[in-house]
Symmetry: C2
Subunit: 903 residues, 2 copies
């Protein structure tokens, strides 16, 4: 390492239109440094400076916080060139050069690391600065800022001193400043005169010695190295570490340090500073957009004390504020030139910082600008039309989850800034919603029928709440995870939903809700941001959206479809959902659950009769009562998806889900079935399971109660035969759930195929396939055997995640938050497929499955089918399609296209 280090170049100069670095060297120079180098090379005026590379940061931490030996010499050499370029000298009494020291990681970490400005101001250089700027107040203001910042960032934080907040040096100096303002009767800092500031500086210096035990450094090189160290040390500061955890950035990247000549926007009325975007970051419109302030420093623009001015007349609208276009037309024209150059050069919307010092425009930063979903799509599509980027690049420019903004109404971000949320839960269904609180499904339905907007608030939901969930604007639950009942149902409908909001204390009897010290009653208004999992009190503005009217969206999705290899299907069980999913681009149904079809009053009666039956004949008779209903269900869904395959899963949940009855209902049902309530209760008790997730469900039901499979197969095939006769192209695929062994599937397949033969004889022909859901680890291990009897696999990654980890999705709330916080898991594995474990099982299932059946069709129908990272994984392991809830179909389409492009 030491040997290699000698050859390494650690410092990259940018000055006078020449840069040693390049815009693409972000790994080495950080984003900021690379941008400064690139702008310099483009001939854009950038204050001269140099970048100390991220390698230095890495070696600094490797070598017990020591710098490489050659660094000092390199810094000094670069500094000499900067002095030459800026025609000033660092520490020079007459023409002093001031420097800024800023962090710059590969990827922006705003506010997470330290910055020190005005380095080089010392008792020796102050007179020179005053002479040069002809502005004594400005110089002393800069000096007092330097002392405040430096003593805090370098002398205290970087030295590892950790006083209480009240006793921190910054706080103490601020108190001195306030004291002086009070004594003078000033309201604003700007009222302080040069004399005041001069005096304040003296007070500050004394305070520094007193508090920190050593004087404020008066040597410019000491100041410079102090600043550099502070930046490197801040890479491992608490804020930066926790930010990296959240954003998933590796600790090994390290930060670069940018040392750059200071330019000042606050030297007088011909100076100013601003930020701008090369295109509108909220709408994507191709027009220059920005804000600035005259006679100000960068921090003033964002601080919110003064109202920034619009950058041009177009943006000004009805504002009475002067625009830069009007106030400093030549500078504005120059800025527009740079804007165009950078937008074109980077072929992306740029976020710019600039400073005007005595009418001279300096560009301080360029980087890809943050934008919302609507803007991202428009910019990407328009840049293709402008021939700046290719279609493929455009597809990579939009993060799939950004499409959510177009698919759901959103809470107005501006409104959200103004109000503190009451609570935070898991963002189970994206979008925003507002409504009055109701606590039961029946209330939700009743209130909605009265024309009221309601939000259904419950501890958790069950299939019996479905009518109320449907009636509600949104669903909020105190328990459950991302694949809980509420989450699954809500996502299926594209409904806003927050689950696992543990802070809620629901008192159902009182019809109240306690949260964050406040008690809310039934009927009170709340607003949910389901995209972020935030609950607000009261009504808030919602921004509506209709993707079908957005031509950019439509163009982008068309391009995505041209590129992607993965099919995208939807999970749906109602014809309306199927139809909706088609408008979102679904190419079939990957999972049509059948159990919810059993909950209508007539049907539940039959299924309960079946459960109670003691002989095979009685059971059969009860089951067959369901045939006409199921057939109608399948007619509807097959017709709605005509032309595409529809994968229908046979009955999956444990039977006790159909007999959760209270005492009264038990008595009624017993009377109805003509048996004693005691016997009924005993039978229901018999169905109780300690771990229903691992119990008598899935194909285990079909094996012990073959008549259920038979009835369902018959319903599917009679529907298919009838529709085929009517000229519809239908492709039912019968999917057997929870298979772990070949024999299980063979058993069920035999029934299905026999019924198919019978129905074909009776009602005419139709195409069909039989396959299975792969959702227990054993099925992945035995996939070769299972594929011998399966025409398709569909990975049920919800259950596979449960069984692979041994995590109950209903109970994970007890430890998942801590797991994520302690980084024991990088993500909720029910949201993003765990590639190391569950993904390995999937990959093995694919490999083994295709080893015995080459053309095995393989899909995924777990919730991961709509998660972009998981979709990419599905593409990589060679799946044929993903299936997800209707509102996630566009997301999956884009993610599937990106997966191809990323490979």
């Amino acid at each position: 390492m030491a040997k290699r280090a000698k050859k390494k170049k650690y410092v990259y100069l940018f000055a006078n239109g020449k840069a040693q670095g390049k815009g693409t060297w972000k790994e080495l120079l950080g984003g900021k440094g690379a941008g400064l180098a690139e702008m310099t090379s483009l001939g854009i005026p950038v204050p001269a400076g140099f970048t100390i590379t991220t390698d230095v940061c890495t070696e600094f931490y490797k070598n017990k916080r020591k710098y490489p030996k050659t660094l000092k010499a390199e810094v000094e050499a670069a500094l000499a060139k900067v002095e030459k370029a800026m025609e000033a000298k660092f520490g020079d009494p007459e023409k002093p050069l001031l420097l800024s020291v800023r962090s710059g990681a590969r990827s922006s970490m705003p506010g997470m690391m330290e910055t020190v400005l005005n380095i080089g101001l010392t008792t020796k250089t102050i007179p020179g600065m005053i002479a040069r700027s002809n502005n004594e107040r400005f110089v002393y203001d800069a000096y007092r800022r330097l002392i405040m910042m430096y003593s805090d960032v370098v002398m205290e934080k970087a030295a590892g001193i950790e006083p209480d907040e009240d006793h921190g040096i910054r706080h103490q100096l601020e108190r001195e400043l306030e004291k002086m303002k009070k004594a003078r009767g000033y309201k604003f800092d700007t009222q302080l005169t040069a004399a005041d500031l001069k005096k304040l500086v003296a007070i500050f210096k004394k305070k520094v010695v007193k508090v920190l035990g050593k004087p404020f450094p008066d040597d410019p090189m000491d100041q410079l190295w102090g600043g550099i160290s502070a930046v490197f040390l801040s890479w491992n500061g608490k804020r930066a570490i926790s930010y990296r955890r959240i954003e998933g950035l590796p600790d090994e990247w390290g930060t670069a340090v940018n040392v750059q000549s200071m330019v000042f926007g606050n030297t007088g009325t011909l100076s100013g500073t601003g930020v701008a975007f090369t295109r509108n970051p909220a709408t994507g419109e191709h027009s220059f957009f920005g804000e600035y302030l005259m006679n100000a420093q960068g921090e003033d623009v964002v601080a919110g004390i003064r109202t920034p001015q619009p950058i041009n007349k177009k943006q000004k609208g009805n504002s009475t504020l002067m625009s830069l276009e009007e106030e400093m037309t030549p500078v504005y024209r120059q800025l527009v030139k740079f804007q165009k150059k950078l937008d074109t050069h980077y072929r992306d919307m740029q976020d710019l910082e600039f400073t005007i010092e005595d009418s001279k425009l300096w560009m301080l930063q360029t980087r890809s600008g943050k934008r919302n979903g609507t803007a991202a799509i428009r910019i990407a599509v328009e840049m293709v039309k402008e021939k700046l980027i290719t279609k493929k690049e455009a597809l990579m420019r939009v993060a799939p989850h950004q499409l959510d903004e177009l698919l759901h109404p959103m809470v107005d971000p501006a409104a959200e800034k103004k109000i503190r949320p009451l609570a935070k839960g898991l963002p189970a269904g994206p979008g925003g919603a507002m409504g009055r609180i109701v606590f039961t499904a029946d209330d939700a339905e009743a209130w909605a029928n009265d024309g009221k907007q309601v939000i259904l608030v419950r501890n958790e939901t069950s299939p019996e709440d479905v009518h109320g969930m449907h009636a509600a604007e949104a669903i909020l639950t105190a328990k459950g995870g991302m694949t809980s009942h509420a989450a699954l149902v809500a996502r299926g409908w594209g409904k806003c939903c927050i689950v696992g909001c543990g802070a809620l204390e629901i008192q159902l009897k009182k019809r109240t809700l306690k949260v964050d010290g406040i008690t809310l009653k039934e009927g009170d208004w709340i607003t949910l941001n389901g995209t972020r999992g935030l609950v607000y009190r009261g009504k808030m503005d919602l921004l509506s959206s209709d993707p079908e009217r957005n031509p950019y969206y439509k163009t982008l999705m068309k391009w995505a479809d041209e590129v992607r290899k993965l099919g995208v299907r939807t999970n749906a069980e109602a014809p309306e959902d199927a139809a909706l999913a088609r408008t979102f681009g679904a190419q079939g149904i990957g999972l049509c659950r059948t159990e919810h079809m059993f909950f209508g009053p007539e049907r539940i009666r039959a299924i309960r009769e079946m459960i109670i039956a003691e002989t095979v004949e009685d059971r059969r008779r009860a089951v067959m009562k369901l045939l006409p209903y199921q057939k109608k269900d399948f007619m509807g869904i097959l017709k709605a998806m005509a032309g595409f395959p529809v994968t229908i899963r046979t009955l999956d949940p444990p039977l006790h889900e159909f007999v959760t009855l209270d005492r009264q209902q038990t008595r009624e049902l017993a009377r109805d079935l003509g048996i004693s309530a005691t016997r009924l209760t005993a039978r229901i008790a018999q169905l109780h399971e300690l771990n229903p997730m691992l119990g008598h469900r899935g194909c285990r039901l079909g094996i012990t109660y073959p008549e259920v499979t038979e009835m369902q197969a018959r319903a599917i095939f009679e529907a298919a035969a009838e529709l085929t006769r009517q000229g519809h192209k239908v492709y039912p695929e019968v999917m057997i759930p929870l298979v772990g062994t070949q024999a299980e599937l063979a058993n069920q397949r035999e029934i299905v195929e026999r019924v198919a033969r019978e129905v074909k004889k009776e009602k005419g022909t139709f195409p069909y396939q039989v396959g299975t859901m792969i959702e227990v680890p054993r099925a992945c291990m035995a996939a070769d055997k299972i594929a011998e009897v399966a025409e398709f696999f569909s990975f049920g990654t919800n259950d596979l995640t449960q069984t692979a980890f041994g995590f109950s999705r209903d109970d994970i709330g007890g430890f998942l938050p801590e797991y994520l916080e302690k980084k024991i898991l990088p993500d909720d594995p029910f949201q993003t497929l765990d590639q190391e474990g569950v993904g390995e099982l999937v990959a093995m299932g694919v490999r083994k499955g295709r080893s015995t059946r080459k053309n095995l069709k393989i899909g995924i129908c777990g919730e991961h089918g709509g998660d972009p990272a998981s979709v990419e994984f599905c593409h990589r392991v060679g799946l044929n399609y993903v299936s997800c809830s209707p509102y996630r179909v566009p997301i999956a389409r884009l993610a599937a296209a990106q997966a191809v492009l990323r490979k």
Copy 2:
């Protein structure tokens, strides 16, 4: 196939001291055919005959029940040679040869397939037979037997006619026979005279025509081919199929058919027939053992109408019956010669059948004799001493589960034959036990304290029943599987236990038990056969056993230890159990659970306090109260196992298991803890989980409550340090349960290692290791990563089976019986490791684990550690040791030795 068939030989002759087949060709000739061929070659007098190979059976079923073309000619050629050897002719009026047709599969399937005797008796040959035997009654008796057997087996069953039992031809003919006996005033068949039988034969023939629509065949070749077909068809008869299912024999094997000259033990007083064993099958003693009857056919010996006579004087004892040694000394001497020859030739105890026809001894069968465990061991060890077999062969001669008979008292098999069991459950704890029924753990303890023997009968047991389970002779539960709580605890103590006995209807309040239409009360006696899962009413004789006093057992186990590569440890949590296991040969503890240690009154108080605690400090304080107790526990167990490693698992079960309280207990605990009952109830409710098996347990507890791990580590290490200082050699291994990711283990390991450092500083040094239980599929997939931070793996195959299949062991009762019956699973995967699925996961875990840590120590501590087939698997995949309950240690030792030898 047709081409190959031409070259194939289908018929193998044995006649005149020469045989075309060999004793080792069981696959081709079946066991019986191979034995007959071998005996013939050994010069032992065997009635001449030939074997039609199992290939014919296979081809018969492949080719739509047609025989290979060449078969007929081969049979005829062989028959000609048989005629020559026996000096008689099939169908010949003067010297007629009679034949038997018998099945003979590779492995014995007693009574499952058909046999036809006396083939060749026709109206033409009867006079010749009478002349030859000089016994008209004997010939007509043989003829009526032929008609009864043939009309049933060949004409009715093989033809696929399925009348009601009452209308079956056999039944109808039997009615005719009874009618005649009644008319004549006879009590026994033997009273029928030749004339009676002659008349009866005529009646039979008419009945056959009437019932079956065609006459009884009078052509000997028709009879022969009818018999052959009947045997082949019976291979796929219901009885044979279900037998193969139960015994796990493949359908593809097929049966051979043995056509053999008839010899008769019932031609008069110089004839007889018998069965014998070359050594005593009950004790293993090396002495000839058998029974015979004069003037009788083989079926009479086993039918139980006449009392068979002992074969020799030694065996006779005090019996007044004559022995063969006395009755026919020359024949006996000849038989002893054959006995010795066969015992030595086969180098195994043989089960022989013989017939004496007019003073001439014929041997009809030799095969390996069935024997019990005690006999198996003695025979094996003695045969080594007799230099007949090697030690290695001896080790293969004893089925590991046969050791159970030596380790537990057994219900006397003779007693069991006489009484029908009340019910059958899962054989969870081997051995026999009898006692009075009690229904609660408290009653069990109270009655036992009064000196009464009790059997605890419950729907299921929980940790709170442990005191009563301990006090009881045996445990019987209506629910649960082979790894339910009751099963695990009972096996740990070597206690007889039957679980999942679904037929029991327990009415706890009434203190009664309904089963099989009978109501048993508290205090009633029952007897359990835990080895077979049978429940009997009343008291039955038990045979006690003490392996330590059995020199053959000790010798065999010594040999096993010389051969085996796998270590054998025990699962134990109490010093007594550890000590017991040492006497059984355990080389350490593979799983010491710690949760049961928390159930003492003082301890449960502390753990409950910990659960209720709201701050980390309170929790810590509560947990630390457990430290002295835990330390004492670990002192005990480490000392009891000194010299060997002890793997201690940190807390595993979900916390709600510690707070199952009724209302009264809740109130008391609340008062005790100084909180409101409502708050306590709320906290307990919060702990409720839908799927506790997949919930907040295992290392998830240690991660969210690090103080628990810390306390346990401290208790282990303080105990280890103290014992080490006292001069004991202790090797604690800290095992973290339910790990799925590297980060989980790393988190817990950090705590354990920190505590180890602290304790070493405070109390002195000690050795230790940290490792993990591999019990979720994800851990197998990520075993390479996990091994980086684990010094050992221990496969927890109970939970791994649960998660791999998605089977809850507590709920599997709902479908497992049907799964086994329908052959969807070959075995209960909780008893015998599922090698295709779970085993693949284990193999992958081993491979991946050792890929990053070459010398990773790997064991298994699931219940499979004591299952012979699973032990073999463990050896094959390269585990270092298996761990099982103390009473299974000898079984595992032998199985481990066999695994080496089998490889």
